[in-house]
């Protein structure tokens, strides 16, 4: 098996590269997961904030009130 072959050849560099790739993949996965989490979080939190601001705006800024006294 390739693994033993590598062991046999004592190619530390290749071994290191495989471990490195695994670690890199894990880090990248975590990173992307975090990014995705952040994006979802931003979507949830931000969307909610935008919605809330819209509700607050509609509740508090009434166009008819603004037009009652003309400039």
């Amino acid at each position: 098996m390739g693994y033993y072959y590598v062991e046999d050849t004592g190619d530390v560099m290749a071994k290191f590269m495989i471990y490195g790739l695994i670690v890199f993949a894990i880090v990248m996965a975590i990173y992307y997961m975090m990014l995705i989490s952040l994006a979802i979080g931003a979507l949830v939190g931000g969307g909610n904030a935008i919605y809330n601001y819209g509700v607050a705006f509609v509740r508090n800024v009434k166009p008819d009130r603004a037009l009652r006294s003309s400039p």
Partner: protein, 477 residues
Amino acid sequence: MSNQNVQPAIKSYFFGKGYGDLGRTIASSWNLNFESAKKFGEKALEYFRQGRSSRWYYFVAAGAGLAALSVVLFGSLFFMAISALHIAVLGLFFLLIYLSFTMLWGTDKLYRVKNKIFTACPVCHEKSELPVYFCPKCRAAHTNLIPNQYGIFKRTCKCGEKLPTTFLNGRSKLEAQCPNPDCTQAIDTHEATPVCIPIIGGPSVGKTCYMFSSVMELIEKIAPAKGWETPFLDGKNKAIYDQAVTNFENGIAPLKTSETTPTAFNFFIKSKKWSPDKILYFYDSAGEAFHDSRELLNHQFYEYLHGFLIVIDPFSIPELLNEYDQLMKTNDGEIRPSQTPLEDAFDRMLVHLEKNHNIKREQQVTLPCAIVINKIDAFNLEERIGHIAVKRYMARYPEVKNFKEAEDSVCKQQFKSWGLGNFLRNLDQKFKKYRFYTCSALGRTINTENQHDKFQPYRVVEPLLWLLEEANKDLKK
């Protein structure tokens, strides 16, 4: 803001309400965010408790918890960003509104300053920038009807009626009143430029006669020649004028003025050559007002007048009276010489100006002053101080080419010879621009034969016209 400035009107959205709405929107949005986070948190706790029954609930609880965290974290960030955007957009919009407001306010102010427009009450003499305007629908009183927090171009009255706030859109057409709370005089001056002339002189110098005779000539002869229209301020002024015309036609001299604090006699001068119209104010107080300087305290119009018209009865000069004393006793004509020495009335007016109107003792008044020597038709005064004397003077001094200059010199010479040197010195010291005129406000003395003949005043309008032209350059056109 003081209560006096509180208006029966709806405040403009852009001056108060807009900021309130912004503040309330931000606060309300923050509260909603907080409530959302709280809701997600409570759900997370609820699902976590249910986790004992099924482990899936732990995942749902974790999701709800993360959602609560997202709302707190990202919600706050987004909230701040949207609030900042809202403030910026609203700020920009309000800035445009304020710029247009400032321009309109400035234009209105500049128009009033340039045209020297102010409100002078004909009755209480209160001076103000603008009168109190009434809402045409509910008659609510609006002060300070200019572009301000109650509206930029128009102000909305509490009743919903829109009132114009500038000269551009018809503010002057609104019904108005004197702003003095103790005076309810209607002000129908329609934001015309006032020209205020007090008629000064002791009792019986002929102030009222002079005022009406000169105004009659101005209205009947000068105005048509110059293309002016001269409508009266109101029916009351027209009635007073019409009565004076009828009296003059029938040889009836005006009744003695009894008011020591006079109500102004007003009429407009309209012409295509200028805008806005001019409104003339003549203050004809009883001569007794010049007996006591305390009486003059009520003459608030000295604060804003545009010229002085001093009427002199030559027979109030003791030297002249002595000369004609015998003649007056034998003559059928009624002279009724004024009992108040000319210098006394003049000095009291000067003291009043110095005491109450910030005119320093050594300060010269730049306003024009016409000195009108009345009753020139009596005896041989025309030959001594009138136009006959002036022509003689010009013949004697051919280097004097100007008739007016010669008239001034003749009057001054005569005044000196009649012991009025002190009066002339005071006049020189106090007035930068003054002129002597001679006239007859009735055109004749009243005697038993001619008592019902029409009065025929002469040379009455010249002093008034000179004074008006000096007071307002437009009137020269």
